[in-house]
């Protein structure tokens, strides 16, 4: 097994260890999970270093490439007669997403330190889910990709259904069914790609060399883009997201909003725009309009929320809109912005959900109006919340600014195939959302943390303990690091994005 297989299967192996741990020893289970994800984090650092070693000599030659170059490839035949391979590889985008996921799952395990109800099942499902996520990011065989994709979506049902709060069964079912409907669309698209290319191979890079006729691309592209868009909270298919995120337990919200929604953007980029460039050009403006609605609708939705989790969930819809918006600008800056936004939003929203979970664990309420003055009691949480909130409204120096500025610039630059006036108009509309974001973030934070302590009961509460400090600290640090030193991340992804753009020309 090469390093990529280890990256995928370490969470699964950890899950197997957890399965064989007796259920009453919940403290042991969480330690096993912490160690497993900790090892994974170290391995991710090794992977990044290794990738840098092998890939950086090629960075300059990628400027004119039209085909993604893969590194650290592992490949052997699986179902030979169908042309299905076990085919793993990475490029810069995959590596950045693996780093994101590894950080989020590590902090997620820390943040669920206090799950005492059926701890064993909780960690098993969480780790299986994240196995699927890692698998998606490294698979370059579309059958294998699909296997991991569904594996990443389904455990969510039980995670929300068992450990969730509020109308959890309803939310879990709604989320699962909508996402599975999305993967049904993807399945049609994948099979059309396979058979349209002569039915010989499921190798993504081979399929991308095929010159599909334009009429074919025009009907397949929206299937794939919408299919992944459902997971990326594309308007009007975002409705699962607020309910799902609000009902889910802390670590699951973190993982879902932080990482799983990124699978949508990643898939739309990798499977949609990369394989079907003509289709992407045909539909880009239409989807740009939809994502503009996403951005604005999400922001206004967040203004109206009274529950902190719904508040963050709607803000997620808005921020995930930036990801898809950046992708459909179809230029290099936009795609860069989109990938940075995936990373930035992943960290940011994981921070938000973990903080909300921790605060809720103390106050037992998530209603914004019931809280107030928490800054005096919980200075650590307050600081973290403010850093996250400021990143969310795009303050320079934090990761959100880097991403959003790229996306807006891209929209303004436009591309050769679409009317510049319309693109700029949509971009201006989307940019306005920043104002709305500032309104809801600052007002929400002020209500929760500032002013007098509303409920005298709260005065007895404590600030963050050590595991909570580690998990939130790691996230805040990452966010600031990306904001201050964005060029490391940009270098990592830029050369890998070149083929995506070159193919369009």
């Amino acid at each position: 097994m090469g390093i990529l297989s280890w990256i995928v299967y370490i969470p699964f192996i950890t899950a197997v260890f957890v399965v064989f741990t007796p259920a009453p020893k919940w403290y042991l289970i969480r330690w096993i999970s912490t160690v497993g994800t900790g090892i994974h984090l170290i391995l991710t650092a090794v992977l990044t270093w290794k990738y840098w070693q092998v890939a950086s000599p090629d960075f300059s030659s990628m400027k004119t490439a039209t085909l993604t170059k893969l590194y650290l490839v592992e490949r052997f035949p699986w179902f030979e007669s169908w042309g299905i391979d076990y085919y793993l590889g990475v490029d810069g985008i995959s590596v950045s997403m693996i780093i994101l996921t590894s950080i989020v799952i590590f902090t997620g395990v820390m943040a669920s330190w206090h799950v005492k109800n059926r701890t064993k099942e909780f960690y098993v499902l969480l780790l299986v889910l994240v196995t699927g996520v890692f698998g998606v990011f490294v698979s370059f065989d579309i059958f294998l990709f699909f296997v991991f994709y569904e594996l990443a979506v389904l455990p969510m049902y039980l995670l929300i259904g068992i450990w969730g709060t509020g109308p959890k069964e309803y939310s879990a079912m709604k989320l699962t069914i909508m996402l599975m409907a999305g993967s049904a669309l993807i399945l049609i698209g994948f099979l059309a790609l396979y058979n349209g290319a002569g039915g010989q191979t499921f190798d993504l890079l081979e399929l991308s060399k095929v010159d599909y006729p334009k009429s074919f691309q025009i009907w397949v592209f929206p299937l794939i883009f919408v299919g992944f868009g459902i997971l990326g909270a594309l308007y009007p298919f975002h409705t699962w997201s607020p309910d799902g995120h609000a009902s889910a337990p802390t670590a699951v919200s973190m993982l879902h909003a932080g990482v799983l929604m990124k699978l949508g953007g990643y898939g739309a980029l990798r499977m949609g725009i990369y394989v079907l460039p003509e289709g992407a050009k045909y539909w880009a403006l239409f989807f740009m309009a939809l994502t503009t609605i996403n951005i604005i609708y999400g922001a206004f939705g967040a203004v109206m929320q009274k529950d902190l989790k719904y508040f963050t969930a709607y803000s997620s819809v808005s921020h995930c809109g930036f990801v898809l918006f950046g992708l459909v600008t179809l230029n290099l800056i936009g795609m860069k912005g989109a990938v940075i936004q995936m990373f930035s939003h992943g960290i940011m929203t994981a921070l938000f959900f973990s903080l909300i979970g921790m605060v809720y664990g103390r106050t037992h309420t998530r209603i914004i109006d019931d809280m107030g003055g928490l800054a005096k009691i919980m200075p650590w949480f307050t600081t973290c919340f403010y850093v996250g909130g400021l990143a969310s409204l795009g303050l320079p120096g934090l990761s959100g600014f880097v991403a959003e500025s790229h996306v807006f610039l891209a929209g303004f630059f436009g591309n050769p195939w679409h009317d510049l006036g319309i693109m700029r108009f949509l971009t201006i509309l989307a940019t306005m959302s920043i104002v709305v974001t500032a309104v809801y973030v600052l007002r929400g934070l002020a209500k929760v943390f500032q002013g007098p302590i509303k409920n005298p009961e709260f005065a007895k509460l404590t600030d963050a303990d050590i595991t909570e400090r580690i998990s939130t600290g790691v996230l805040v640090f990452t966010m600031a690091a990306v904001g201050m030193l964005p060029w490391y991340l940009i270098d990592l992804i830029e050369s890998s994005l070149m083929p995506f753009v070159n193919r369009l020309h």
């Binding site: 035949p77 699986w78 179902f79 030979e80 007669s81 169908w82 059958f143 699909f146 296997v147 991991f148 569904e150 594996l151 389904l154 049902y157 039980l158 259904g161 068992i162 959890k168 069964e169 079912m173 699962t176 069914i177 599975m180 409907a181 049904a184 669309l185 399945l187 049609i188 099979l191 059309a192 396979y194 058979n195 039915g199």
Partner: protein
């Protein structure tokens, strides 16, 4: 020697029938062992005959690799049914009402039905085809009505007999027209002689209707829910697996071997049938409360997926269909084994009754969940891989819309399979819930079938073996030779 597996099964049936007369009641446990052993020996003999092709009786009985794969399914289904009915026939169940009597006759009839199915796939002649179909069906009428004191069971038997006889008559009429058109009962001769005429399509329609009954294709599915609910659960499991596989064998023989050349004219019929079958099966399953009725509609929708393998005679069509059939029987038997286990211990058969099972029997609940997910087509379980291949066949045949319908249907099916998962995992336990004891027979069955449901899809060996061996049969050359 080609017919040895069938002869072993029939011989075992007769031996059991005779021994049943002489053995004292407390010694009758040996009958079950004997039935199981007979099927096992026949299975071993069948497995050993791979690579041997040949014919008997002037080409009316042919053994080739396709036939062998089907026979393995029938034998496996028979063996599992023996295992599943073990506790009920030996009176070891906690729930007294679910015990069954007359085990000697039960095994004999089961073995005869299995033999009929095995003859069916080897037949190359309309007469033997029809006779072996009847030999497989008529014993099932008896098995369905086994528990004669139970009014539901009697009703199920009556419905099954009447509708079964009707469908047989329609089928026979269709076969008769086919004979009239070609002047021969030999399948190969018919395939060369038939010409396109309204009479041919009338015959095709009647054959489809007749066999649609066995396969529970909509609109010939009416009997399924009542019969599945009323019949003793091991018999229901057998019906949902073996009877369905026999139907697939029959369709394969008629539509590939006889009409394979004209597939472009009948595949739209199958696309439409698949669409309405899976859609109706899935939609009605949503509102079911009784788990056996629920599984009936689930089985109906699975039949819709299965016939997608017939949409185009591509070399991968038949192996995909066979592979899904294997995935389906293993998966379906997991679920039925758990249903039987639960009914044996508690006598309960409603979906709500399963609440909290993950707390009392976590391993069994886990197996059930895997089975349900495999039925819903969740990767990496075998049900997903099988469905993926079948969908790919439909996509290759140009039926992209059907892939869409089928994929959306899979999503709907996930909704109702999750209903059971929800009961087992999310809902609180019942007040009187305790950990239930499972008998070794059922535990073994659940273990083996679960392993099959999980590993068939992950390890490529099974599919590749089916694919390679099936290529050795002459089915593909028959189609290409008669293609117009």
């Amino acid at each position: 020697m080609l017919m040895l597996p069938e002869l072993i099964v029939i011989a075992a049936g007769f031996i059991i029938l005779l021994l049943d007369l002489f053995l004292a009641e407390e010694k009758k446990n040996i009958l079950g062992t004997l039935a199981f052993a007979g099927l096992l020996i026949a299975l071993g003999r069948t497995l050993f005959s791979f690579g041997q092709q040949g014919e008997l009786f002037g080409g009316r009985f042919v053994v080739d690799s396709v036939a062998i794969w089907f026979k393995i399914i029938f034998l496996l289904a028979g063996m599992t049914t023996v295992a599943l009915s073990w506790d009920r026939l030996t009176g070891k169940t906690t729930d007294i009402a679910s015990r069954m009597k007359h085990r000697g006759e039960f095994y004999t009839i089961l073995l005869f039905s299995t033999a009929g199915m095995m003859y069916l796939i080897s037949s190359r002649d309309l007469v033997t085809l029809y006779i072996s179909l009847e030999l497989s069906t008529i014993p099932l009428f008896v098995l369905v009505a086994w528990d004669r004191d139970n009014p539901l069971c009697g009703e199920a038997g009556l419905k099954y007999v009447i509708l079964g006889a009707l469908s047989s008559a329609v089928l026979l009429y269709g076969l008769g027209i086919l004979y009239g058109l070609s002047g021969s009962t030999d399948l190969a001769t018919i395939s060369q002689k038939i010409t396109h005429s309204p009479a041919l399509w009338l015959s095709v329609a009647m054959i489809t209707a007749g066999i649609g009954f066995k396969l529970t294709l909509v609109p010939f599915h009416m009997w399924a829910a009542d019969v599945y609910q009323g019949a003793p659960t091991p018999v229901t499991a057998h019906l949902s697996v073996a009877s369905k596989a026999a139907g697939m064998a029959f369709i394969f023989l008629l539509f590939y071997r006889v009409l394979g050349g004209a597939f472009q004219e009948w595949n739209i019929l199958f696309a439409v049938l698949a669409t309405i079958t899976m859609t109706l099966g899935n939609l009605v399953a949503i509102i079911q409360q009784n788990i056996k009725r629920f599984m009936a509609f689930s089985a109906i929708s699975q039949a819709g997926y299965l016939i997608m393998g017939f949409l185009g005679p591509f070399p991968e069509g038949l192996p995909s269909m066979l592979f899904y059939l294997y995935a389906y029987i293993f998966t379906n038997l997991v679920v039925f084994a758990v249903i039987i286990f639960y009914a044996n211990e508690t006598g309960r058969e409603n979906i709500d009754d399963y609440r909290g099972l993950s707390r009392t029997n976590p391993i069994i609940a886990g197996a059930m969940m895997l089975g349900l997910f495999s039925l819903a087509g969740i990767p990496p379980l075998s049900g997903f891989v099988g469905k993926f291949f079948l969908f790919s066949v439909a996509s290759k045949a140009g039926f992209h819309w059907l892939v869409g319908v089928a994929a959306i249907n899979s999503t709907i099916s996930l909704y109702y399979y999750l209903r059971i998962v929800r009961q087992m995992y999310i809902e609180p336990t019942m007040e009187d819930a305790t950990t239930l004891q499972i008998s070794p027979m059922l535990a073994g069955t659940i273990a083996i079938t679960t392993l099959g449901a999980v590993f068939f899809g992950i390890i490529p060996f099974f599919y590749e073996t089916i694919n390679q061996t099936v290529a050795a049969s002459d089915w593909w050359s028959v189609i290409t030779a008669t293609a117009r």
